[in-house]
C-alpha cells in the first residue's frame, strides 16, 4: 500500500540533493506541476532531471534551472520558444545536457524498470547522438547500444489512484507516467482522486500499485475535465473515498 501524503511538500520529501529525478509530462499534459512546485520549495539541489523538455517560461522545472539546482538534464527537446532559463544556464556552461532521442529516452527508462541492462536500438545510428557509442549489425540492420536509465525518484501525474496504488491516466496525459513509475526506485504520484481498493477495474489499470510509493491528491483541470466523462476504469460500484475538493 502506498503512503498517502497530505501535502505535495510531504510527497516530494523523498527527493534528496544529488538525486536523479524523473519528471513526467509532455507539455502540460501529465506534468505534475504541483509536485514540481513543491520540489522548488524544498531544499533539494544538485539534481539530475529527466524530462522530455528543459522547462518552459517562468514555472516549475524552468525555475529549478534558473536557481541552478539542476546540475544535469537528460531530455530530447530542450530548446523551445520559452526555454530561456535553460538556454541561459546552458550557454553559461552551468548545466550539463545529455540529449537523447525521445524514443530512446522512453526505452532506456523502460529498460530500467524491466531489469534490462542495455539494448540495441536502430534510432540515432550514424548520427552525432550516437558518436562514441557501441554499435552492432544484427540481421543487416545497424544498431546503437543504449543503457538503462533508472531514477531515484519519479514525480508523475495520474488521474485516479486506488488505495493499493493502482493508477489510471487520462488521454495523452499518460505519456511518460507508466514508464517513469517503473524506472524509479521511489515513485510519487499526484492524482485527482483517491479511490478505495476495488474501485478500479483490474482490466483497465495501467500502472499496477507495486510501482507506486506515495500518492497525494491535488485537483487540477484534468479532474474537472474527467468529471464530465465516465472513465472506463471506474467501476460503478466504486464509491469515492477522497475527492479533490475534500483532499489536500
Amino acid at each position: 500500500m502506498p503512503e498517502i501524503a497530505e501535502t505535495a511538500a510531504e510527497a516530494v520529501s523523498a527527493v534528496h540533493s544529488g538525486a536523479t529525478v524523473l519528471l513526467g509530462g509532455f507539455g502540460n499534459a501529465g506534468q505534475p506541476m504541483e509536485l514540481i512546485d513543491a520540489l522548488l520549495d524544498s531544499e533539494a539541489t544538485d539534481l539530475t532531471v529527466v524530462n522530455n523538455n528543459a522547462g518552459q517560461a517562468d514555472a516549475g522545472l524552468a525555475l529549478l534551472i534558473k536557481e541552478r539546482r539542476v546540475k544535469k538534464i537528460i531530455c530530447s527537446f530542450p530548446r523551445q520558444a520559452d526555454s530561456r532559463h535553460f538556454d541561459e544556464a546552458y550557454r553559461a556552461g552551468e548545466i550539463e545536457l545529455e540529449l537523447v532521442p525521445q524514443g530512446n529516452l522512453a526505452e532506456r527508462m523502460r529498460a530500467a524498470g524491466a531489469g534490462i541492462g542495455a539494448f540495441y536500438t536502430p534510432t540515432a545510428y550514424g548520427t552525432a547522438l550516437a558518436e562514441g557509442k557501441e554499435t552492432r549489425e544484427i540481421n543487416d540492420r545497424n544498431y546503437v547500444l543504449e543503457y538503462a536509465l533508472p531514477g531515484d525518484v519519479a514525480l508523475i501525474k495520474a488521474l485516479y489512484a486506488d488505495e493499493t496504488g493502482n493508477l489510471v491516466y487520462r488521454k495523452t496525459a499518460r505519456n511518460f507516467g507508466p514508464v517513469m513509475a517503473a524506472a524509479a526506485a521511489h515513485t510519487v504520484v499526484q492524482v485527482e482522486e483517491l479511490l478505495p481498493a476495488g474501485a478500479l477495474a483490474p482490466e483497465a489499470v495501467v500502472t499496477p500499485g507495486l510501482f507506486v510509493d506515495t500518492v497525494t491528491v491535488i485537483g487540477t483541470d484534468s479532474g474537472t475535465a474527467a468529471a464530465k466523462e465516465h472513465h472506463p476504469a471506474l467501476r460503478s460500484q466504486g464509491s469515492k473515498t477522497t475527492t479533490a475538493a475534500e483532499g489536500a
Binding site: R79, Y125, T127, T172
Partner: protein, 214 residues
C-alpha cells in the same frame, strides 16, 4: 522566377499519395498540414508520438482538453477507434516498423535517402531532437516535404548531407515545390528518381541538382 508548387499544394500531393487504410505519423510543422487534405474515405489512422492512435483534427478553441494534445502540444480531438498508450509503447510502434508512413520536414535529403532535419550544426545552437530520429528510422516509408532549393538557390537534395544527419538511408520520397522524387533501392544502391515535375522541366531540375537521378 517560377516558385513551383505552394506549401499547400505539396501537402495535397502528399495526402493524395498516402495509401488508403494506412497508419501515418505527421511530423510537427508543415507535415501537420497534410491532415487537412486527407479524405475520410482514405481511412487513414493518425499516430501521435505522445501516445495516441486515431487522432482527429485540431480541437475547436472552446473544446480544447488539457490532456489531449498532439506532438506539437496543440489541442486535438479523438476519433472513434482511437487508443491511448504510454511513451515506450508509442515509440515501440515506430521503431518496430508498425507505422506505414511518416511525413517529415528537412534541411537536406541525400541521394541515398539520408535525412538532415534536426540541427543546423551551428556551433552556438542549442541542440534539440525530440522524436525526429525515432521517426526517421521507424516508419516503413518516410516522406519528406521541403522546398527543393534554399532561398539563395542551393539545392536541398544533395549528394551527401552537410547538415548533421537524423538518419541514414531512411527517406523514401521527397515532395518539393518543383517535383516529387522517389528514392528507390535498385538492389545495388539507393538513388532518387524524379517522378513528377512542377514549374521547371525535368531537364532544368536535373541541371540544377548535383545529384545523379535515375
Amino acid at each position: 522566377m517560377n516558385q513551383g508548387l505552394s506549401r499547400e499544394e505539396i501537402a495535397q500531393l502528399v495526402a493524395r499519395d498516402i495509401a488508403p487504410g494506412t497508419f501515418v505519423n505527421l511530423g510537427i510543422g508543415q507535415p501537420t498540414t497534410v491532415a487537412d487534405y486527407l479524405r475520410a474515405d482514405q481511412g487513414i489512422t493518425l499516430h501521435t508520438e505522445n501516445g495516441m492512435l486515431g487522432m482527429g483534427p485540431q480541437a475547436a478553441p472552446d473544446e480544447t482538453d488539457p490532456d489531449l494534445v498532439n506532438a506539437g502540444k496543440v489541442p486535438v480531438t479523438e476519433l472513434p477507434g482511437a487508443s491511448y498508450f504510454h511513451h515506450a509503447d508509442s515509440f515501440a510502434m515506430m521503431r518496430g516498423g508498425h507505422l506505414d508512413v511518416c511525413v517529415l520536414g528537412a534541411f537536406q535529403v541525400s541521394a541515398t535517402g539520408g535525412l538532415a532535419n534536426w540541427s543546423t550544426g551551428e556551433p552556438d545552437a542549442i541542440p534539440a531532437v525530440g522524436g525526429a530520429m525515432d521517426l526517421a528510422i521507424g516508419a516503413k516509408e518516410v516522406f519528406v516535404m521541403m522546398s527543393l532549393f534554399t532561398k539563395d538557390g542551393t539545392p536541398k537534395l544533395v549528394p551527401e548531407c552537410t547538415y548533421p544527419v537524423t538518419g541514414l538511408g531512411c527517406v523514401t520520397r521527397v515532395y518539393t515545390n518543383y517535383g516529387i522524387f522517389h528514392i528507390d533501392d535498385d538492389g545495388e544502391r539507393r538513388r532518387p528518381r524524379l517522378v513528377e515535375a512542377y514549374g521547371l522541366s525535368a531537364e532544368e531540375i536535373h541541371n540544377r541538382l548535383d545529384v545523379e537521378l535515375v
